[in-house]
Structure formats: structure tokens, C-alpha cells
Symmetry: C2
């Protein structure tokens, strides 16, 4: 299962309870910049494996995410801010 | 201070942390239907004085809200769902 999760634009409080709940339950979080998303995830005590994934990512990254999904694992896709 | 607060459309988890924080700190919550908003507020353990305020409300209701604001109190305006 792949979740597309919207993250705050500027104020860390601007994220929904369901978004945080989703990030807390997935097996992997794919994010644009692990340092940027790290600030948000740390704020909400979310410790999950992170995978950087952005517009310049190669096919190997897509394969990695697809492998997770095919194994029945859950992945959340987030961007630095807003909705991916 | 008057806060315009967006509330969930369908899923109670679709409200931001900042919105809940705001509803928890204000002196009065003006809502369309106190029973409808009561479900949301109870879910988040928010106990505040409620004032029904909707498109058919008379000038007296506006006066009441204005009085609160002029006294330096804080008011949150919410609708049954979404952004007022």
C-alpha cells in the first residue's frame, strides 16, 4: 500500500492527525530530502526507515519502492512541504 | 482575536494539530450546529462554551461575538465541515 501524505508548509502544526498516524504505521517513508523531512518526523517522534526519492531519482529507487510494495509492505510518499 | 478554523470533512482524523491546539485555547467556539461540532470536539476532549452561529443567525449573535472580541477574549469560528 502506498500512501500519499501532505506535510506542513512552514508551520509544523499544520499536519493532520491522520497524516501523523499514517507516517507512524508505514514500513518506509520516501521523501525528497531526508534532512528536511527529518525535522518534521523528529518533531512527531516518528522513527522510520527513510528513502530519498525526488525528480532526479533513477529507476533503481522506483524499483526499491515497488519491491517494498510487492512484498506487502507499506510506504508513505511525502515531499519537503505540501502534497507530493 | 478571531480564529477561522478548518474542520474535517468526513474523517475526524483530518484536522491539523494547530487547529486542535487553537480550539483548545480559545474562550468561545462559534459553530453552525453545536451537535455536529460536539462530535468533533468530544473526540479531541475539547470542552469550551459553544455558540451556534450560521447564515440564519441574527444580529444579536454577531453582537455577542463582537462583545467577546472587544473584551479581549478569543473566539474560534468553525463550520460543520471544511473551512467557514
Amino acid at each position: 500500500m502506498l500512501y500519499i501524505v501532505a506535510t506542513p508548509i512552514g508551520n509544523l502544526g499544520d499536519i493532520t492527525y491522520r497524516a501523523v498516524e499514517t507516517l507512524k504505521k508505514v514500513d518506509l517513508i520516501a521523501c525528497e530530502d531526508t534532512r528536511t523531512s527529518g525535522v518534521l518526523l523528529k518533531h512527531y517522534d516518528i522513527e522510520k526507515p527513510l528513502l530519498s526519492y525526488h525528480s532526479h531519482s533513477g529507476v533503481a529507487k522506483v524499483d526499491k519502492i515497488m519491491k517494498y510494495l510487492q512484498e506487502g509492505k507499506t510506504v508513505a510518499l511525502i515531499s519537503d512541504a505540501g502534497t507530493p
